[in-house]
């Protein structure tokens, strides 16, 4: 299936891009992030803290569907 992945802040700088379209067999955001870290080794040293699917906060073991937009958030630091 095809998904769009978006990277923010430190992730965008590590991956060297803000978003990419990926063909994947990953069923969960956790598996997808591992795949992305293989594509962009600089991501491997990071901990992803939050994930969203189609602009809704999601869990790491949520089910991915074809066409999803998956947002990977590095540790947040608002306030």
């Amino acid at each position: 299936m095809g998904v769009t992945v978006r990277y923010f802040a430190a992730f965008r700088e590590a991956a060297g891009l803000a978003e990419e379209a990926i063909e994947t067999a990953a069923e969960t955001p956790a598996a997808l992030f591992a795949e992305c870290a293989n594509r962009h080794p600089a991501l491997q040293r990071f901990t992803a803290s939050l994930v969203a699917i189609n602009d809704e906060m999601a869990g790491w073991e949520s089910r991915l569907s074809d066409g999803d937009e998956v947002l990977f958030f590095p540790p947040v630091a608002g306030g």
């Binding site: 700088e13 591992a34 590095p74 540790p75 630091a77 608002g78 306030g79």
Partner: protein, 149 residues
């Protein structure tokens, strides 16, 4: 009145406070987060907030709603800055009005604590040394496969 927004320009604090005034309320509590000149032993010159606005607003409103329901507030609102900020600039403001003070203090604290944990907002500090780092990410280095936890 329940509101959460992200501002790219300095916040109008007077207008913010006036929007929370209500004749049924005997208490108003406000929290401001300011840009500080040091963090973890480094001298900070300025900082930069990156905000993913669609989700920050959605989740921010959820936090405001939770606080209103939980503490029985009359009005509650918060504004978070994005972009480049200088020392002493207001990075975030939270305001709540309620009939009595205990709920106002507690709700203000609840909103800022949850905002720090849940909003997709990132802070990059620019140091006197010339370096710049994303806060909370320095500690990620060396941690592998920890995102499953």
């Amino acid at each position: 009145m329940r509101q959460f927004s992200v501002a790219a320009a300095p916040i109008d604090l007077g207008g913010f406070r006036r929007s929370l005034a209500d004749p049924s309320c005997g208490a108003y509590a406000q929290f401001e987060g300011w840009v500080r000149d040091h963090n973890e032993g480094q001298e900070v010159l300025r900082l930069e907030y990156e905000v993913y606005v669609p989700l920050a607003v959605k989740e921010g409103l959820r936090i405001i709603d939770e606080a209103v329901d939980r503490f029985g507030l009359t009005r509650a609102a918060a504004i978070h800055r994005s972009g480049l900020l200088e020392l002493t600039d207001v990075a975030v403001v939270v305001g709540v009005s309620s009939p009595h003070r205990a709920a106002a203090f507690d709700a203000c604290r609840y909103i800022i604590d949850q905002a720090k944990l849940r909003l997709p907002i990132w802070k990059k500090e620019h140091y006197a040394s010339g370096a710049a780092e994303w806060v909370n990410c320095r500690h990620c280095a060396g941690v592998e496969h920890a995102h499953h936890s």
